[in-house]
Symmetry: C2
Amino acid sequence: MKSFITYSEDCHFPIQNLPYGIFSSTDNPNPRGGVAIGELVLDLTLLESEGLLPSNYFSQSNLNLFMSAGKEIWSSVRRQIQELLDENNSSLKDNSELRERAFYCQSEVSMHLPAQIGDYTDFYSSRQHATNVGTMFRDPNNALLPNWLHLPVGYHGRASSVVISGTPVYRPNGQTLPMGEENPVFGPCRLMDFELEMGCFIGPGNELGEPISTENAGDHLFGLVLVNDWSARDIQKWEYVPLGPFGAKNLATSISPWVIPFEALEAFRIDDPIQENPTPLPYLQCEKNWTFDMNLEVKIKSPTMTEPETISESNYKYMYWNLAQQLAHHTITGCNMNPGDMFASGTISGEEAGSYGSMLELAWKGTKPIQLSNGEVRKFIQDGDNIIMTGYAQGDGYRVGFGNVSGKILPAKKQ
Amino acid sequence: MKSFITYSEDCHFPIQNLPYGIFSSTDNPNPRGGVAIGELVLDLTLLESEGLLPSNYFSQSNLNLFMSAGKEIWSSVRRQIQELLDENNSSLKDNSELRERAFYCQSEVSMHLPAQIGDYTDFYSSRQHATNVGTMFRDPNNALLPNWLHLPVGYHGRASSVVISGTPVYRPNGQTLPMGEENPVFGPCRLMDFELEMGCFIGPGNELGEPISTENAGDHLFGLVLVNDWSARDIQKWEYVPLGPFGAKNLATSISPWVIPFEALEAFRIDDPIQENPTPLPYLQCEKNWTFDMNLEVKIKSPTMTEPETISESNYKYMYWNLAQQLAHHTITGCNMNPGDMFASGTISGEEAGSYGSMLELAWKGTKPIQLSNGEVRKFIQDGDNIIMTGYAQGDGYRVGFGNVSGKILPAKKQ
């Protein structure tokens, strides 16, 4: 499969990918649906209005309607877009007037949140990450809490503060408890961190009281983005018992703009991790694999750097609980999903120290500061640091990637 | 102040109240805005289309647009509705043709969620409730956790499963850990509970990164409803460490349909509780009182009862952290609010055993079963039980009330 649009072998957006996003352009400030191809964006509303794409999903400021349409529609729309971009198809390729209007440079458009996110849930599904946290803060010999291997632990996140890649993030102010003190103090977070996660958008939902089985999960899962779940570790530590993280997380959650549909990821589906000792309860057992081999990377660009520097290399395959299990567990008590809801995976840490998905783990609670090549060191994120996450699956001569999610930490505002 | 619509002294919806809701009727199935007056609903879209109410907020299936309009608009719309309902105003009173079309019996309309709730936050702000829980599950001598008196503990709830009063709720299935066992089992929740709470709808929001001070909170708080935060205690106990309640709460949260605006509650504003030892940090200090004297009541109607029976009498005044403090804390790290977001108070328990706001506390973890007058006993909620919460503030010769929030527990579905 080859497109008439040209791009390099390491481009994240070949014709095998075709992720969906919401963009606006200087000539048309209305946010609308597009797909990324090479270094361009194809305006899907134009294809619709020209009758080349017989759908009516993309003249919206979000993809919720398309997400709600379901697998058969997703598949047929994808096939039609793929055909229009194919080097052997002339309808778009040879219509230079239409091509002129249909394509934008990615570098020249503004990207927006791909969905109106009704509810955002954050899981905690990487075993190595949970083990690292348990080792640092509790007991290395009993790092995992008793429930962790029995259910995909998760919590309800804050949907309003999910922001698109590139949005700067203020270092939060908040309450923290200084070591050894009894009374908290107020001020800027001192232990600002990122969390490398993947996010999944939900397609068609379920009715309240009607759980979704692992077997049917695929009918409800639309596609993936990268997620940086910003975390104020000192604020989190003081606030989170007993009801979980709150202000430490709701300051912002950044996501990458292009949603990769699962059809584009089929080639990278690999075996799920073995779950024995304990075997999950039947409602969490899963016949189909929902693990994907996708390289993930975290880079930092401090104000003095000219190029970003890689500080972690992880992989989406380092997940213990998969998306089908997360969805089955989330709905088992009857919770209803809506199109555009988002699941984040939780921090994805591999087994090696260089593959950990947060500063907390990489610098091991500040005890092993990260040495950067320009001589700087980091225990946590400093003001002006730009954190850039990227990820892709490597095919034979092509990559299916996300582009990236980035965000710069600005100094805390005076209160 | 007196309306030409007649009602009794103990009616919850006198002209002093005028709560807003979304209703539909058999002659017009479009959900739209109305106010409750006596036993009637006044159709606000009709007043708008007739030019009697110069606004354009109520021909919507939710009140979000009106909530976003802000205090001055709320005040002016309220004054105009109050004038139209006044016994001395003839424009509606003496127009029998219009009266015929403008009013519906509350018993004959369907009520809908008053807002599209973007995010729902549940606090934990009653000191007696937190003390009771800490006493039962931890240490009576150290019942409150170290952070509790320093900040309004809260967590992000699930917005999608907030339902309107009257919606039946299935007993959830889920994982629980039997006493003394190492492995969880799957099945229907055995410890089904209610939580008596109040809910506050947010009006105009704030930008990400721009906290709202306690002083400005009143510009952002629209009005109150009753909340039953259904809780599956056995599921909660197994799942909630370390990230907080999840499936035990997202099965359903019921709210009353009529939102009482704060202007209707001014007469019932009373002194906030004294907060010394410790004094909160400056950002949580509050000059204006945000405590209200409102009686709250929980009734149960089991399948064999002909009338509901009261099992708890509490009061909204039993709150340690008030709404302005909750809002200031929620936004202090930069979290943004949107119109229609909802805060719930957390279970409101008074000091006496008969004023506790959950079955868990009333029956003290099952050790003091509740004796009902028909001979039945309850430790937790049984299938077929209808839980009805009601509440009102007592004025001089009138009441400002919520009506009620009810919900019946249906048997768990077979999995």
